[in-house]
């Protein structure tokens, strides 16, 4: 489906969906509370069929955190970016690793580097840092006088 058709289909299926303009692909903003349901429908609706989650990351905007999910469909080859705004002090969102198995490791990485808690994740532990590490390294306010070298 082309971008316009996709946008139309999404507006029909997800009431209250916000779209961000600009950018190569359709970008949909979703509330954290509705994210899991939206994700499930993106996967299961046969006209959308987003079966491939190819990038899962987080951006620290200093006032809030944003989760960014990139989806594509191997059947229709359309692409979608979903963004979810999270509260910086208590960032938590539902996991999608039972819908897309690849999210398991990606969510662990986001937890490790940003501190986002994924509800119902089977094994939410740090991935790259050691288990006893304090702090969330990729956040903008992360200070580490020992390990960080400021240019």
């Amino acid at each position: 489906m082309t971008n316009e058709e996709l946008k139309q289909s999404l507006t029909e299926n997800f009431s209250g969906a916000q779209f961000e303009e600009g950018g190569e692909w359709i970008c949909m903003a979703v509330e954290a509370a509705q994210f899991r349901e939206t994700a499930g429908r993106l996967r299961s609706f046969s006209s959308l069929d987003f079966d491939y989650l190819f990038c899962l990351t987080c951006i620290d905007w200093k006032t809030h955190l944003t989760m960014v999910y990139h989806f594509t469909s191997t059947k229709y080859r359309h692409m979608l970016v979903v963004k979810v705004k999270l509260d910086r002090n208590v960032p938590s969102i539902d996991t999608v690793c039972d819908i897309w198995r690849t999210a398991e490791f990606h969510e662990r990485e986001v937890y490790d580097l940003f501190g986002v808690k994924f509800n119902n994740h089977p094994d939410l532990r740090r991935l790259f840092m050691t288990d006893e590490w304090n702090g969330w390294p990729l956040r903008k306010d992360y200070e580490d006088p020992v390990n960080m070298i400021k240019l």
Partner: protein, 371 residues
């Protein structure tokens, strides 16, 4: 850490494979729970070579950050750099001259060949056949020499810049590459004879580590790992960049999903890469090797994603820019990360020897995973 594995039952053996490992995979630490010789659970412990490249790039300029990606997947360093350069060019709307495009594709395909050669040698070595390793490296030397003449380095060739390539091709490039093509054509057949047709080898790989098509997509596998399960995911075909749209080559798919299919896919890819190099080497257009760009690059505010097909799969570069000279956030979507996450699923129920075979066919490069 081992006591936390609450799923062990009486009589299970928990062993560590790695991080220092005789196989040349890098610093990967696997905690394997065995029941006798059968694997019950494989848990990768990552982070031994985590250098927080993504955070580092937030303080590097747009010209500088490209070269840290050479150190990520060092076997596909050209292709990684290419992905980064493409993203910057997308953001700045820079048009790459045709000569530069062809040179980039040539370098990328030669790198893919070199990476697959090393994979083949290391894979055979993991399974116990120690001789193919030397054969693979002998051919790889030819590519390394070609790279050294033009780019100045043999492994981390910092050759791509936003807008083109850093320097023009060496005068010997065309002759050397042609000589290499002649040499390698016959060598691939030799590889087939030596290893592919060997019945011991086939028995070690057939039926091992099955990954169905749905699982491959769900686990996010790309590259030869997914193509061995019948998933069509070659970025060069689906979302062509540079001159790939005009080239004639096949996307090789196998449908069994076991180690042997992935092996065959990579061998076939070597042949395809060779044919791409052959198509291009006589038709390098004249012109600039670099587009004129400003000295200091500033991407406009926004987000940009570009993807390239490395030897391991889809490498994605996601830049979030606030209009400054350094990126606000960069995310590298590395192919090895998703491929590795499927390891537990593939290895359950097999023996330790099979684990080695499966890791070999996933073609893991740990710095790519840890970033």
């Amino acid at each position: 850490m081992i006591e936390e594995l609450g799923t062990t039952t009486e009589g299970d053996l928990v062993i560590n494979i790695g991080p220092q490992h005789p196989s040349t995979h890098g610093v990967l630490h696997l905690v394997v729970t065995l029941s006798g010789e059968t694997i019950k659970n494989v848990e990768p412990h990552l982070g031994y070579i985590h250098r927080s490249i993504e955070k580092m790039c937030e303080s590097l300029s747009y010209r500088q950050f490209i070269y840290v990606t050479s150190r990520m997947d060092y076997l596909s360093s050209h292709i990684n750099n290419h992905g980064c350069a493409l993203c910057v060019e997308k953001g700045m709307q820079i048009e790459v001259p045709p000569r530069a495009q062809v040179i980039r594709v040539l370098m990328g395909e030669l790198t893919r060949l070199a990476s697959h050669q090393l994979w083949w040698g290391a894979m055979a070595m993991d399974l116990g056949a120690l001789t193919p390793f030397f054969h693979a490296f002998r051919e790889r030397e030819a590519i390394n020499e070609i790279m050294e003449e033009t780019c100045g380095a043999r492994l981390t060739m910092n050759y791509m810049v936003p807008g083109g390539v850093m320097a023009d091709l060496h005068p010997n490039f065309v002759t050397k590459v042609k000589a290499f093509i002649q040499l390698f054509r016959s060598k691939i057949d030799e590889y087939d004879e030596l290893v592919t047709g060997n019945i011991i080898f086939q028995n070690r790989m057939k039926g091992v580590g099955r990954l169905t098509r749905e699982d491959a997509i769900s686990w996010g596998c790309t590259g030869p790992t997914a193509r061995g399960s019948g998933v069509s995911c070659d970025i060069r075909k689906l979302y062509p960049y540079e001159v790939y749209a005009q080239l004639k080559f096949d996307e090789v798919l196998e449908y069994d999903g076991d180690c042997f299919s992935r092996y065959l896919v990579r061998l076939a890819e070597m042949r395809q890469s060779l044919s791409i190099v052959e198509q291009l080497i006589d038709n390098i257009p004249e012109g600039d090797f670099q587009a004129k760009t400003k000295a200091v690059l500033k991407l406009p505010k926004g987000e940009f994603y570009s993807r390239v097909e490395t030897a391991r799969g889809e490498f994605g570069v996601y830049i979030v820019s606030e209009g400054a000279t350094t990126p606000y956030r960069i995310k590298f979507r590395s192919p090895g990360f998703s491929n590795l996450s499927a390891l537990n699923h593939m290895a359950r129920g097999h023996k330790i020897g099979d684990l080695v075979a499966i890791m070999g066919t996933l073609d893991l490069v740990i710095p790519d995973i840890d970033r």
